[in-house]
């Protein structure tokens, strides 16, 4: 009896261990992201020091038991700053991806579903935004609103909207022609109801895959902005700003203050990329 039951009991467990069954790389990427989120959530509990506490006497100390990753020029603990940096590092892209996904879904769905002049106007609008470099828009926003997290986030959200919008536009057009959605029209549902209740859920996984990839890019762009001094301002802990800070330390032979946040950014961007591609792959396989 138990021999018969075992496979049925074991399968879901196995599945939970390999979240989407995309192989080891995918699993590692998911773990990396999991750790990142945990660190961001628990930073105040696990950080050994106050990330903004200056201690000029212990400036640029190498790795030691006291400071695992050493200190920066102002004597701040690099590890603590990294852990806290995960917070803005994730919050910024989360807002960017959330806003741009919402905007892209709205514009793409309206354009793809309505077609005609609405499509023409919205598609040209998206092309227009698309053709302006996002970082440039962000710098303009910062020039007007001042540095910080808000202006770069809004600018990047605007810049990323066409990426989502174009994807959704194509998906909406393609799905609209499928008989299962046409059947809802024949039944007499309003276009609005069909889009919200049936179109969006059916295209959501594909959009989610794109959003995961965008998350990595947004993280990188926001880090670039704060590296340039337009984003989160020192002494707040932010990976991009830390690299900027660490530049002068590099000249004095201390690599850790710049290298550690760089590694974090690369890890996060690559992990989001792998997860996004993994979801997309899985969808492609399911389509077949």
């Amino acid at each position: 009896m138990s021999a018969v039951l075992t496979p049925a009991v074991r399968r879901p467990l196995l599945r939970r261990l390999r979240p989407l069954g995309n192989g080891p790389l995918f699993t590692v990427a998911v773990l990396v992201l999991g750790v990142l989120v945990l660190v961001a959530a628990l930073a105040p509990l696990i950080a050994p020091y106050d990330p903004e506490a200056l201690d000029l006497r212990s400036s640029l100390v190498g790795s030691s038991a006291d400071h695992l990753l050493g200190t920066d020029q102002s004597g701040r603990d690099v590890l603590s700053r990294l852990l806290y940096g995960a917070r803005t590092g994730l919050l910024g892209p989360l807002l960017v991806v959330g806003l741009s996904t919402a905007g892209g879904l709205l514009l793409g769905t309206v354009a793809g579903w309505r077609g005609g002049w609405a499509d023409a106007v919205l598609s040209r609008l998206m092309d227009l935004v698309f053709s302006v470099p996002g970082l440039l828009v962000a710098i303009m926003f910062v020039a007007v609103a001042g540095p910080g997290l808000t202006a770069p986030v809004i600018a990047m959200a605007v810049a990323y909207t066409p990426y989502v919008g174009r994807l959704v536009h194509g998906l909406a057009r393609q799905e609209k022609a499928r008989p299962y959605l046409e059947s809802y029209r024949v039944q007499g549902w309003s276009g609005w109801t069909i889009c919200v209740r049936h179109l969006l859920p059916n295209i959501a996984p594909t959009v989610l895959a794109q959003s995961a990839i965008n998350f990595g890019y947004a993280l990188m762009d926001l880090a670039a902005l704060s590296f340039l001094g337009f984003g989160v301002q020192p002494p707040a802990a932010d990976w991009g700003a830390m690299i900027n800070d660490g530049e002068s330390a590099l000249q004095q032979g201390a690599t850790m203050p710049a290298l550690a946040p760089s590694v974090c950014i690369v890890l996060a961007v690559v992990a989001f990329g792998i997860v996004g591609e993994g979801i997309a792959d899985r969808l492609a396989r399911r389509e077949r």
Binding site: R178, P179, Y180, L181, E182, S183, Y184, R185, V186, Q187, G188, W189, S190, H198, P201, N202
Partner: protein, 269 residues
């Protein structure tokens, strides 16, 4: 005019990018009647069906159902629902016409909720009845479409179309995607439904045997035009138009010669 006049189509036209697909199609389908529209691929059958349910907008011509004009796009919820209750459509391929995310019972229930929101008490009962009418039970109702066979899915699609209690049911090649043995079952099922419910059938098909089985009247379509109409039995036994004859000769049977048919097809009819 007194009493319902059924579906009256006059001079329906539709072109895509300069190519005329439907070129002045006219026919009448009396209430509770059955009409077959036959013709080969690309003759405009499906486009005609899609215009009747509002999936394509006609370039010209009129469609009246019981005297009500259906040519205009409906405004507002009431108009949309009224229009949907006029004509329902069963799509050709049941593998793509059902929402992959929704259990089939729920998908029929949705239609009931949309069109008959007040019958909440006996909604489940009606859904069970509709499923039973197409030979499906509670077990199938809980399944997602991908867990059902092609024949079962088409049964679901038929039940879903009937859920709106339409006056006219259009079946667009509704058995073409199914195995021959399943086709016969579905055709029998449809014949039974028509006897029981009195819904009018518009049967769009390239398959003359199917049309013979299910319809009283037939219209033969070629190049977007109706070339012959009449009682199904007469048209299929004593065709007047050379194209109808050709179509009949094209059906594979004993002593059938594909070479001769192909030659006849090349000659101007």
């Amino acid at each position: 005019m007194s009493g319902p006049t059924g579906l009256v189509v006059e001079g329906l036209r539709k072109g895509f990018g300069g190519r005329t697909v439907v070129d002045g199609v006219s026919f009448t389908l009396p209430p509770g009647g059955s009409l077959g529209i036959v013709g080969e691929s690309g003759c405009g059958k499906t486009t005609t069906a899609r215009m009747l349910v509002g999936l394509e907008r006609a370039d010209g011509g009129t469609v009246h159902l019981d005297g009500v004009d259906r040519s205009m796009r409906p405004r507002g919820r009431a108009g949309r629902l009224e229009r949907a209750r006029g004509i329902q459509l069963v799509f050709q391929d049941p593998y793509v016409s059902l929402d992959p995310r929704i259990p089939v019972g729920a998908c029929i229930e949705e239609v009931r909720r949309l069109h008959f929101p007040l019958d909440r008490a006996d909604r489940r009962h009606r859904v069970a009845e509709l499923l039973d009418q197409v030979g499906l039970g509670e077990r199938e109702a809980a399944e997602l479409p991908r867990r059902l066979s092609g024949g079962q899915r088409q049964r679901v699609a038929i039940a879903r179309a009937l859920a709106a209690e339409p006056k006219v049911l259009i079946l667009d090649e509704a058995v073409a995607a199914l195995d021959v043995s399943i086709q016969a079952q579905i055709l029998d099922l449809l014949a039974g439904i028509r006897r029981a419910s009195g819904v009018a059938f518009l049967f769009v098909s390239h398959d003359l045997a199917v049309v013979r089985h299910l319809t009283e009247e037939v219209a033969v379509l070629r190049g977007g035009r109706v070339v012959e109409t009449g009682p199904t039995v007469r048209v299929l036994t004593e065709p007047q138009h050379p194209y109808t004859r050709l179509l009949l000769d094209s059906v594979p049977r004993r002593g059938w010669d594909p070479g001769r048919i192909a030659a006849g097809r090349r000659a101007p009819a």
